[in-house]
Symmetry: C2
Amino acid sequence: MNQPLGKDFTLPGEAGYEQLTLELAEKWGADVIRDSDGTKLSDEILRAGYGIYSTICIIRQHNAFAAQHPDSQQQTFLCSDPVTATESSVRIQPLDGYFDQQFELNDSPEALAYWQVFDRTANREVPREHWAYREGEVTVSPCQPWHEYTVSFLAWRIWEEINMYNHTTNHWQSEHLRQLDPRHPLAWEYLQNWLRDWCRANPDTTVVRFTSLFYNFVWIFGSDPRRRTRYCDWASYDFTVSPAALKAFEQAYGYALTAEDFINQGKLQVTHMPPTARKRDYMDFMQRFVAEKAKALVDIVHQYGKKAYVFYDDSWVGMEPYGPYFPTVGFDGLIKCIFSGFECRLCAGADVPTHEIRLHPYLFPVGLGGLPTFSAGGQPEKDAMQYWRSARRALMRQTVDRIGLGGYLHLTEGYPAFVDAIQRIGGEFRRIKALQKQAGPYTLPLRVAVLHTWGKLRPWTLSGHFHETYMHPLIHVNEALSGLPVDVRFLSFEDAAAGGLAGCDVVINAGRAGDAWSGGDAWKNDALVEAITAFVHRGGAFIGVGEPTAAPGYATYFRLANVLGVDLDTGARVCHGKWTFDVEKEPAIFLANNALGQKKDVYLTDGRARVLAECGGAPQLTVHPFGAGMGIYLSDFHFTPESARMLLDLMLYAAGQMENALYLTDDARAEAAFYPDSRTLVAVNNSEDTVRTRIRLPGEALDVTLTPMETRFVAL
Amino acid sequence: MNQPLGKDFTLPGEAGYEQLTLELAEKWGADVIRDSDGTKLSDEILRAGYGIYSTICIIRQHNAFAAQHPDSQQQTFLCSDPVTATESSVRIQPLDGYFDQQFELNDSPEALAYWQVFDRTANREVPREHWAYREGEVTVSPCQPWHEYTVSFLAWRIWEEINMYNHTTNHWQSEHLRQLDPRHPLAWEYLQNWLRDWCRANPDTTVVRFTSLFYNFVWIFGSDPRRRTRYCDWASYDFTVSPAALKAFEQAYGYALTAEDFINQGKLQVTHMPPTARKRDYMDFMQRFVAEKAKALVDIVHQYGKKAYVFYDDSWVGMEPYGPYFPTVGFDGLIKCIFSGFECRLCAGADVPTHEIRLHPYLFPVGLGGLPTFSAGGQPEKDAMQYWRSARRALMRQTVDRIGLGGYLHLTEGYPAFVDAIQRIGGEFRRIKALQKQAGPYTLPLRVAVLHTWGKLRPWTLSGHFHETYMHPLIHVNEALSGLPVDVRFLSFEDAAAGGLAGCDVVINAGRAGDAWSGGDAWKNDALVEAITAFVHRGGAFIGVGEPTAAPGYATYFRLANVLGVDLDTGARVCHGKWTFDVEKEPAIFLANNALGQKKDVYLTDGRARVLAECGGAPQLTVHPFGAGMGIYLSDFHFTPESARMLLDLMLYAAGQMENALYLTDDARAEAAFYPDSRTLVAVNNSEDTVRTRIRLPGEALDVTLTPMETRFVAL
């Protein structure tokens, strides 16, 4: 196992620290040096023989142009806070409550044409003749006393949101950066020329790293520090809007969108909720636009003999890596900063030549959540190993091509344990990657379909990072799956209803009633219900988490209550007697009780489900035979390495594969992957304990003792 | 305070224990002796100069007639358990899963005409030509594979439910009693004659106590002991149904009801859920029928010189004491068994000459829930004082006329502490009652309207006793209100929308989204929203508990989120930033934190609500200025004497009356009532601690020290 491994590490260089840069490049096996937001590379670094990544945020840093062409800036629809009418007229200042450094009213005639006033009590738009706008204020007259009114309006976004965040959070003092809309013809001309100039001016750059493209995820600030963030959705499209976009849409799709299509009663179109058909059209429209413009930029980069990578964060809206138009852009690489295993899989599976992950922690004094990293009290080597634990199990299933870091390299001085940890991580990554050069790891014959609204468009991720979506059980499921030895695919409800379950063994639906992950009204499609019912009856497994398949208006709240053997009482069954039950033990299944919820109102439908865990008299984990298959219900699911094993055990149990499953540990704290081509087993300890575990091999067993967090490579 | 007090106590006599009977009658101040289910009165007791109550259950104990006329028995609609079709036809045994000693299929031609088969997956009735019934089985063909099917059918109820309960729970072995439907012409003739005969045969009886009338509350047993009770609803009307009733309804209302009007997707028409318009019609129809038949029976009783009291429990369906037809029956008295204060108020306020309560514990070896009462380990005197604590505070606000006990008197032997406790309770009751002979107690100028679907029809109660409805916050609110020095009324949503809030200071809405207590679709009526919004803006207080005013489809989930200053995120606002807040202290308000819930997803709407309690970052108790009034939100409400004080304080705070409120204790464990006519203050200690408290009088204060559970009468 001492063959030379490739260099595939991207190091953040830093001018003024040339010796450190080159020293760590050697130690960590770097072949590429990058700049970061706030750092420069000196000539000494640029000419040291490394590949050079240069970071650009194409729509930012053009304040002079923006000042000359204020109408080239980006916009959004906003909705005023509701105002209760107490008389027959009511006055509303639309921007009240919004951060005035982020937004400016767009009250141009073409924008005003898109404004709307709503009586939110009556759920009715107020006719134009009943409201008037003048100098920042809308007057509704006549109105209905005691009703609530809102104004939906267009606003200019006058501060690029990532820059705004760094100013307000990290106390940056530099000039507020603005952002251009590539849909504006002059801006688009300007941006292309700027990129050409940039390429000419940076001959040492081998890879242009786009951060990311044009439109930031939606991040709306409020005026009051008690609610600085009014809204934040990593996958929403609100920040792409403009009268020009709306007109182009109307021309392309034959119908006009209104402010309400975005404002949605003030709730906006949250990615976690099922989209309207109109939103789907608009997303498709915008994805095509983003891909087309991105391709033009990539072509420029290629003309200058450089590669174009895209960093999948911040201004990525419309360039979903699994969207239909992403491959047409021609990116040479996708870079994903990762905290979690699911992000590694998201990156690794994208249709692009090079997949690179950016490890955490970044080389910043303070990490996410404000805790110290490279400053007093920080333990960056511990942080690095925590994140590596999540990434490692995912990379063992499907590797990426490269890893790297970001931030200020000089901060590593005084943290030799961190430097060593990254060296270790780099070494382990290269061995895992090498094992997959020929073929992937052994996979159990378990083909798992994760079923939700977005299907293939949003595999693995929900909307943002784990810590932003932790309240959704699906992100925990995805994180668990990211490192399990099973085949995983993501299906939409339309896919499932149209035969998409063929070739699947397990279907998972995990979410809250009505949300995009559970499915909401998608479950009103009888064909979907029939497809899954038949699938399970013929031997498949259906795993529901939280409020799966929930839809109001039917005999049961869970549409597949008959398959699951449990349902949720929303109040109408409060007088119905509930089946009593004993909590049963199923030795074959590792039980991670603390991964389950404390969900009230769950009850057994036909009394035949076996209850493996309960809380306050309500079942929390059940297995229910249905025909030749099985329905499994979990009240909630919180990811830990141990709960991932519970999920795997449940799937194996449902599929009747428990007996013969190979390469599994007998301790849930440890996991293993086997690479048949090289006859190598990789066993990892996900815990900080020493773990002695037996691993089932064909016809025999292997006993290993793993030190805390160890990665063990065993030739078989 | 030593004036002679009246005798107003009903004692359960027992043959064979004549001396005990007369001795306790003397000690407890009885003027009436009653029999009980299972006891007889001997001649010695009957002729001792006491009034005599005799218990009859008019529709029961006629098995010979029922055997001769099986079609005179009562019926119900039932719905089969759903069956998933796996082929193009499916067979269903309708009674599968039901208790075969309670039910028998009614497959007579006139009954079969009412049967229905439903495809519950598609929410569609299956046309008659696609199903057939034969020998206890329905075959649906063709059907849609993988859909669920149910059969709705009529069943005879062949075992009177209270008798069935006593057999199955208390191991009674006697003959199963059947029950007759007074709508059956022969049965009706028979019952009237039977009553005449009975009156003639019982000349010593002064009061015929009906237990209760004709139709039992709905109690459906299952075949499996793991789910013996399939359904239990104390206020539901399912057990009144029959083809004859349905035909009479159709004639009277001009349209026909179907099985589905009762079955409601298998959920039945739970009293805790808003009724359909058809259910309201049917209830009115049945109430008129019950009142008419009851009047005929009362007239018979009166013809024999006896009085007719009705016991409000068991077979009371259709004779709601606050219903429009109840006064027309002509009952001389209403007897209510009580565990709680709200039941005392329910009894005390009914439009009937005599109000009597039956105290707990009953003289049975074992109490509700199976714990010992008059048997080894029992402490009946403690139980009696616990129930008395609840009753006392309600009776201090509005007294009843009489009290009494039920059960087997001989069981009191060996429990002298119980005998003393009842003597004490009787004495306290008589003094409280005497204080109210002239006029009621001083009431704070706080007029409180409790707002729910049933309004005046169901004041105080929900559906059954406290221990059956504890999961509904409203029963806790009602229990708190039952002893508070405020004016209480109950309004329906229709009342409130039509000016019913005039003369109110506080409106309370407490329930779960969609239920009858919160209101469900009633909140889609803008006029209701306007009425309450205006009411609060002009100075009123609105108190919402749990999921008040909730209705889906609007900008906010709580329709009065603007008034309350809080709303509940059902998932669509998961990306919306929430207002941060500090938990504030409001010294004027007694805080009973453990009375509140642990409700997730509550958030501040405009950031102006003051948060007095929180859980996991979500507000649980808030006060929100709105115009000249206030919206108050409680995440939940659990009754304790202390939390009752919190509720009172919140109402006083909202109404700006905190400063001057009279006759309040400064310790939440104690309460007081002042009777202006007799210038007497009654102070009670609701706790088992000694409590020293100051009571605010006009211009002065009174300090009292109360022993545990003490009732103190103070002349001012």
